[in-house]
Structures are given as C-alpha cells and as structure tokens.
C-alpha cells in the first residue's frame, strides 16, 4: 500500500468520479470530521447537458468544464488526484489505481456512464459518442472537416455522404444535437460555404421507438418532433440501426443512408472498476444498491448516479440517468455518512423529481414539471435560465451568456475551429459489452 495515502486521523471517504454526484458528496462533507479524496481520470468536472453546444460550436469547451481543484480550493479536508481506478479490494478496503494503491474507509462509486453501442463493434468503431469534452470537440472538428471535404467532391452522390449527418437516439441529447446541427445548416452553411446550398446538407434523427423523448410527456414528444421537422430535421421513428461501416448506415427495414458522420446518443451503460460482484450488475451495466445507496452485499461501499440502480418495488428499473438523481443521491449519501459516524440511524433516499426539459433549435423547448407541461418560446427561456444558472463558476456563466446572446442576435455562433483534426480511432475506443 502506498504510504502517501494512508496516514490519516479522520475516516477517509474516497469518491471515484467528479461528475454531478461525486462533487455533491465532496461539497456536503466540507468541514466535517472526514478526509475527502476525490479521484477522476480528468482534472475537471464536465457539465454534460451542454456538451452538444460544444459539439456544434456555440460554446467553447472551458465554459462547460470546470477544474476540480479550483472548485474545492477552499475545502481543507479535500484532496484530489487524477487517477484511473482499476479495481476495488473490499476485503482490504483499498483501491488499485494507476497511481498506486489507495485505502478507504468509505468508498463512493460515482463513475457515471459511458456510451453503449450494444455490442456492435462496427458502430462502436465508426460512430462518434459524446460523453465528454474531448468527444464533443472531436464532433465539432469532424462536422467541419466533412463540410470542407464535401467541397472537394464533384460527384453529387459522393458529396452527399459528407453532408448527411445522422444522429442516432431520440432522447434529449439526440434531440438537442440534431436541432443544433440543423441550425448550422439553416443559418451558417451557405454563408460560410457559398459553394453549397442548404438542400445539399441533411440532418437525420433516428429513433427505434415510435416517438422521440419517450421519457417525457406525450405533449413534449409531439411538439419536439414538430419543432425538429420545422427546422428541417428528418425524424425517422421505429427505425432500428443494424450497422455502420463509416460510409453507410443500415437500418432493419432495409433502408440505408450514405454518411460519413453518425453521432451515437442511443444509449449509455454504467462503467466501474473491477471488484463488483457480477450478480448485482443489472440492465445497463449498473450496480444494484439498497435504498441507502449501499452496494448490495458490500460494506462501506456505495454507488450513486448513472452507475447505480436503486431497485425497489416501486422502481423496478431504478432512477432515470439524469443529473438531479446523482446530485440528490450525493447530498443524501454525505448526510448518511455523517449520521453513521456519529452513531445516528441512517435514512432512505427519496428522489424529488424536478422535471425534464429539452431544447430544439434557437427558440423552442419542451418542459415537463410534474403535471405542468409547456412548450415553445417561454419553455426555451426557462431552459436557458436553468442551464445558465447551473453552470459552475461566474466566468463560465458570463462567457456562456455572451456567447448565447451574440449567437442569438447574429445567427452566427463563432467557434467553428478545427484545432485537433479528428481521425477515426484505429481500434474500438471503449470496451463494448451489454
């Protein structure tokens, strides 16, 4: 064991993952009699709900990524390390990581989810996921590269592959991403590329279910589909993707689209280190927990957020994979840990559903808050306000506001930069299971 991490006077809470859940645990343990150690592969927290705006050039990456050290610089009981946690040894209460062994008293697995390609290696290799800043920046580069490349093709058929953009998955991410790409087509394409016509570019949104935004209200689904169609997005429902070789995407109904760009937002799956009993890993590669976020069968090990499945009679599939669940579980768990340390009885987690929303293009959104449902321009303002206020850091809120305001007034989001040219990986980028 690495002695550097083992000489502590208070119990050590180790949190794996600086996402929405992990940072809430750490914050809620400020000034408590515990040592908090946060581990993440990256040095920043990512505001995932706005990744699609980085991918489509409205926002710069630093506006939605916040350095974790800066976030916690006033918290004395906090330590941060960039680390990849490889395994959990629950018997010895240690983690095996790429920076050595780390001991814990309480372990919180807040490792979130990664893209789920449902076992299709071709799709995993050729389609582009969007779960972190690097991937979003890659999408921005690749969209621009393909439009540039299209100008070099004189054959119309060949050219179309570069100008067909296919988004797979009709959840909020797919809806927002396809809407934003359609805005590029509608407002930017012919100005930046006078050689091209609007009609040369096509944006598709492909969904396997009979409707998009299936987790929102029927009104939200219907309106979102209408708004997308008004923007010119071709919405394909009840369509199953069977393959994508980098040039042609094929569907179960026999149809196919020539395209260089498939953006994959069709599913996620939990990701976590080894050492978890496979019997408690459920659908979506999530770790089953009890109602106190405790991993079933493990002592002092907890899981929260997208990686966790708190399955009860009322919730046979666990909570939805959204930020508020992770945040509420994080705050809840920190309180329970404090209760445990002071010998008080622990409590059960209770999720408060604040609602769901998605934005479509520059003036429209759909919002469900319990029974209250509204869509359109006012919903779009609500969406903007909620997201702006949720960003971490004063600078990020100001810069994002300016970018949005200039973009709204000029129809001309400015960050169409190719800094790191994107090339398809030579091998599959993430382990593919499920």
């Amino acid at each position: 064991m690495n002695t550097q991490y083992s000489n502590h006077k208070f119990p050590r809470v180790v949190i794996i993952g600086g996402g929405f859940g992990g940072i809430e645990v750490a914050k809620a343990l400020k000034n408590k009699e515990v040592e908090v150690m946060l581990l993440d592969r990256n040095n920043h927290h990512t505001f995932q709900p706005l990744l699609y705006q980085v991918a489509t050039g409205t926002l710069d990456a630093p506006s939605i990524a916040f350095p974790l050290r800066k976030m916690f610089r006033k918290q004395e009981n906090f330590t941060f390390r960039i680390a990849d946690v490889l395994g959990i040894d629950a018997t010895n209460k240690t983690l095996d990581t790429d920076i050595g062994s780390i001991s814990y008293d309480y372990l919180i697995i807040a490792t979130g989810a990664t893209t789920n390609f449902f076992g299709n290696q071709d799709i995993a290799h050729n389609a582009m996921p969007m779960k972190n800043v690097k991937e979003a920046v890659s999408i921005r580069s690749f969209i621009l590269q393909n439009i540039e490349d299209s100008l070099l093709k004189t054959d119309t058929e060949e050219r179309s592959a570069y100008l067909n953009f296919v988004v797979v998955g009709g959840g909020p991410t797919g809806v927002e991403l396809s809407g934003a790409i359609a805005e590029i087509r509608n407002h930017i394409l012919t100005k930046d590329y006078p050689e091209l016509k609007k009609e040369d570019m096509n944006v598709y949104l492909v969904e396997g279910l009979p409707k998009i935004l299936a987790n929102l209200s029927p009104q939200a689904s219907e309106k979102a589909e209408l708004y997308l169609k008004e923007l010119g997005v071709k919405v394909l429902l009840n369509v199953q993707v069977t393959g994508y070789d980098g040039d042609i995407i094929t569907f179960a109904d026999g149809n196919r689209i020539k395209t260089k760009t498939v953006l994959w937002s069709a599913g996620v799956m939990g990701q976590f280190p080894s050492g978890i009993n496979p019997d408690i890993v459920v659908r979506g590669n999530r770790i089953r927990t009890d109602e106190e976020c405790r991993v079933i069968g493990m002592k002092d090990v907890f899981a929260i957020g997208d990686v966790a499945a708190m399955i009860t009679d009322e919730l046979p599939r666990g909570h939805p994979g959204v930020a508020p669940v992770a945040q509420q579980q994080g705050r809840f768990l920190a309180k329970n840990i404090i209760r445990m340390l002071s010998g008080q009885p622990t409590e059960k987690f209770n999720y408060f559903d604040k609602g769901s929303m998605a934005t479509i293009g520059r003036n429209k959104a759909v919002v469900d808050i319990g029974k209250i449902r509204f869509q359109g321009f006012f919903a779009w303002w609500v969406w903007m306000f909620v997201h702006l206020m949720s960003l971490v850091g004063f600078r990020n809120r100001v810069v994002t506001f300016i970018n949005w305001a200039i973009n709204y007034l000029t129809f001309n989001a400015g960050i169409r930069l190719i800094i790191h040219k994107y090339r398809r990986p030579e091998r599959v980028r993430e382990p593919v299971n499920e």
Copy 2:
C-alpha cells in the same frame, strides 16, 4: 489539373497561409477584379501574440483563433480551402497540394515561420514549441500534468524535475511565457495544490545573449529582466543550451537542470513548399525578395511576412519577424497587384515601425515606440489595449476582456483544463534544418 479550380474569368491570386500577412492581402483585394483563393492547413487565423496566454490558461483557444471562412463571409471574390501546399510549379503556374492541383496567376507565399531547433534532434523531440493553438493547448496540458505528477513523487530530487519549468529564448515570447508561468507559481500553485509550497516550483528563462529582449531598447531589456526577477523567474543570460533528453537540460557552461518541461522559443525559421531556388534561401530559411516582395528570379510569385527576407543595403538582414511587417507587406502587395493589373507602375515597400512591446506578469510591460520608451504599469495598460483591439471579432474581444478582468481581480485564471492529455511525440514533429 483539377478543373474545379481552373475556370475563372478574373486573374486568380492564390495566397498560401492565413496568418497576419495572408489575410491582409485577401482583405485588400475585396471588390477588386481578381479571384482570391486562400489556402491554409488550418481553418482559422491565429493571433500568435497571445498564444502564451492560452498556454498558461488565461485565455481559451477560441478567443485567439478566428475561423477564416467567417472572416471573409462577406467577400464575394474569396474562396478558401484547407490545404497543404507541397510544391510550386512556376513554369506552369500551378501548385501541387494535398487536395489536388491549383492554378494561379499571382502567387503569394505567406506561410510564416515554424520553430527552429537549430538542428538538434533531441531538443526538437523533447522540448515543446509554441507556434500554433494546438501547441499552446499542449503546453497548458503538460504544465498541469507535470504539477499533478509531482504530487505522486516522494523523493524531493525526483519531484523537482516535474516542478522546474525552463523557457529557452529571451525574446518577447519567452519573456511573456516565463512571466505568466511565474504568475501561476505565485498566485495559483499553493491554492490549487495545497500539498505544494511556492518554493517547490522554479521558473527559468534561458537566453544565449547577454540580455533579454535584445531587439528592444536597453531600457526595455533592463526593466524586463528586473520585472522577471521580481516575479521570481531565474533569468540565465549568456547560456547556450547544448541538449535536452526529456529529463535534463544541459548547457555549454556545464550546468544542467532536471526538468520535464522545456518550452522552446529560441528561434524560428521560414517554412515554404518545394519549388523555391535554394540560392535565394537566406538565413533563417527565409525567401529573398526584391523591394516589391517579389521572390528573386520568379515571375508573379511573392513572399511576405516571416517567410520573406527583403534584403537591401539598409536592411542586410531583412525586416524583423513581427506581425506589423507581414500586415503592411500584405496591404502593400495587394495594392501593387491592382497596379499591375491596371497597367500602373508598381511601388516599393516601405516599413513603418510602430514599435515593440512585451508584457511581464500582471502589472508590468515594456514599450518602445521610436524614441519614446516607457515601462511599468502604464506600459502594461497600453499593451493590453493594443492587444485587445487587435483581436479579430467582437465576441473574442468581449470574452478576452472578461477573462482578463476576472483574472486581474481574482488572481485566478480559470482555464486549467487537461482536455487532450499531452504525450511526447514518438518522432520529431517538424523537419529540422537551419
């Protein structure tokens, strides 16, 4: 020949490079009876004077990089292509590029300069250059990675290599870069990394000449050195670097410093496609031109900016490699081309020297404007104003202003992100010659 680029009714001016010189030529030819084609490897113009602020996390990359298509979207006679120009065939007036053959009537080589490692392969491989946005972002990542890695080393000697930062080259770039790294040490290090002390980190500026800023006035050199020392930068003068293996930098006087990070701003050299007579390539790999920017011995081929050496009796070494030379030559050349087309006599280039400046840390700068020389706080305001106004794009000026203001008030520049983890290249990144 690619027919796509050859069917034109007006003479075609092809510009290689969208730097300070290239964009001025293109702008000045707006609404003239020429076709303008701009070629660049990147899709954006880079404001190189502020690269060091991206490298040190004060500014985000999009603030100093501006998409070339957006810059020229209102110019009808303008075409842009991302292209790597491989060779010039002056006989047939065509360019060989990675996107096919391109014909020209007038060719402007505005390809700028790349880092000069003076033939030292080890340095070229292990030291980090800073001539484009990608390289600046790599430096930002690598500085942060090394500070993170230092926390994992218990051996003081071993740790010091991660916390010694060596900047080679005492020109404006080296001075500004070392000053900004010293500010990280002075104001950020112990807040973000409570495990570290200020004294653990060292910043060196190494210069082969007896003074820094050798091209500025003696007062500027002296004051800049004083300001750097006040910031805690160890300024090493009259020191020649002999090698760097990635762990230890060695000097001609036998001294050596253990360091993982050597930032190389010790020299530049022109870069240009093949097809230029080697007899007219002078010191610094620059192309010799006459006083009208015409490449010696070539017809209708011109060179401007850092890649050009307009050698005259008064200027035996040509103009300095600074943005105003490139900009003035660009505007001058566009006018001369218009004169040629209308049968008027051409003129000779005359450089108007607007002066030089460099900033050191958060409150100090040195400014030389002809005989007027001043240093200190007011100079720093002048420096800021000039650079802010020189940025392209309203958004970029606003965002940069906000970043500077927040940074100034909080001592806490925010963009300390590692998005693309930096790894040393496996081979030398640029051709190394002299």
